[in-house]
Amino acid sequence: MILRTANLTKQFGGLRAVDAVNLEVKEGTIHSIIGPNGAGKTTLFNMLTGEIPPTRGEVHFQGKNITGLKSYQIARIGIGRSFQQNSLFKNLTVLENVRLAAHIHLGGHFSFLRDFRSYLQPIQQAQKILEEIEILDLADQKAGELSHGAQRALEVALALAADPALILLDEPTSGMSPDETIRMIRLIRKLARQRTMIVIEHNMNLVWSISTTITVLHQGQVIATGTPAEIGEHAEVRKAYLGGYSE
């Protein structure tokens, strides 16, 4: 078990956005979290990555209790994330975006006596990631000047950059054109082969084709967890969320 939550809860005033969620993510699997808008998916993510503190409950990562750690500490112990809304270093080049994210787990990122270009390892790591994400040809462009699709890809690259043990992707295909979506689905399938990921996604095509496990959230609560086949058969899930969507 790489990640486990116990009764994880977030209360916003009168609203219980996430309600006693117990999540178990196995190493080497792709675990999708689905649910209608407002189901608490992103709030759950934000608690896993320390962006917001939980009201109650605990998060365990690789056997350690990481509840209450700050987001930068959680990033450092090996959880990388992407955001639903692009959050990039817009004025810096694509390569520099990924290099910055890669350098954190390599030596010398707090040095101020040598030129940053003397540290080759983070640069090579960044190039490797860009090649994998298939945007190496955009390396010298400013992140803010990329197309939306390329920005979404860079968003994923930043999550992967520091070689984390667990990757959280928050709606990687959001706002994409049909063409871009197809490319992103192909990309995530490729990435999924050798990584452990938790993915929030609305695109059912993507969810059904990559997931080992699916958890369905509804009004902050887990209403089902299982393999794609099990979830497809689940009567309550079909009623609450899928409707006529699954075949």
Partner: protein, 329 residues
Amino acid sequence: MVEKALGKKKPLVDKEILLFAGLLLLLPFVLPFKSLPAEILIYGLGAVSFNILLGYTGLLSFGQAAFFGGGAYLTGILLIHLGWHPGIILILSGLIGAVFAAIIGYLSIQQVGIYFVMLTLAFNQLAFFLAYQWKSVTGGDDGLMNVPRPDFSILPGLKIPIQSNTEFFLFVWVIFVVSFVLIRRVIHSPFGRILLAIRDNPNRSRAVGYNITLYKLVAFVISGFFTGLAGGLFALFMKMVPITAIELLTSTDFIVMTLLGGTGSLYGPVIGAIVTKIASEILSELWARWLFILGVIFVAFVLFMRGGIWGLGVASWNKWKKGQKEALS
């Protein structure tokens, strides 16, 4: 590809630095005002140090005069009462600037945006009132008078004179250039790149694993060190420490110089210092309300030329080069 995306690796000293240092060396020859060149470099150092915070980390600090004044008062007091070697005193003036910056910075970066700005401003006022009230040590309103400027001895019997305008300018020039080289190295280091990342997107910097509070604090300490050093030089330059050295107006001087010159590079603030100091010298002769003119120029730049003088220069240069290329093809 890497070079196009990240730029060329910069050695500690290169042609760019030599050209820049050489041009600054011309200041006493082209300016008719005798003591102005040294003053320009002192303020230039303060403005460059401020730009580490504004231009590279995105922190608008109104607390710079506390570091500048701290360095100036410490230098004055040590020279008057203990008469230590000015080299040691100048290093100490940098250190006290760094300590003040660590305290004010630590307390201010707990907040962001306008609250951060107001905190730095409030701490600067606090430092000012301390200097104002503590008359026995600082001279209060009258300033700290009669600060000696001893020669700079290197070996027993070998002294570098720093008495005349030219001698003192050269002394300041050496310290300025060394400081500038070091600051440029910091800006191009992995640490400096993280500052840029924080300016661009603090949330993402945190999400990829950087403790941005710590980085901001270290940026403050580095800025405080060089600002304190500039303050120490200022005490030697004036042979006294006026209360204005620690006043909020001195903080705004650095801000105006930096915004006017341009925040996008380390050269911008120096150009801003040159332009404002020369302009104030000329305009104050012509019209008693000269600050008004400077204010209008400043507003025009902030409204219409966000890159400052340096940004304007770079843009025109690129345009000209593009024109040349098109004419050739």
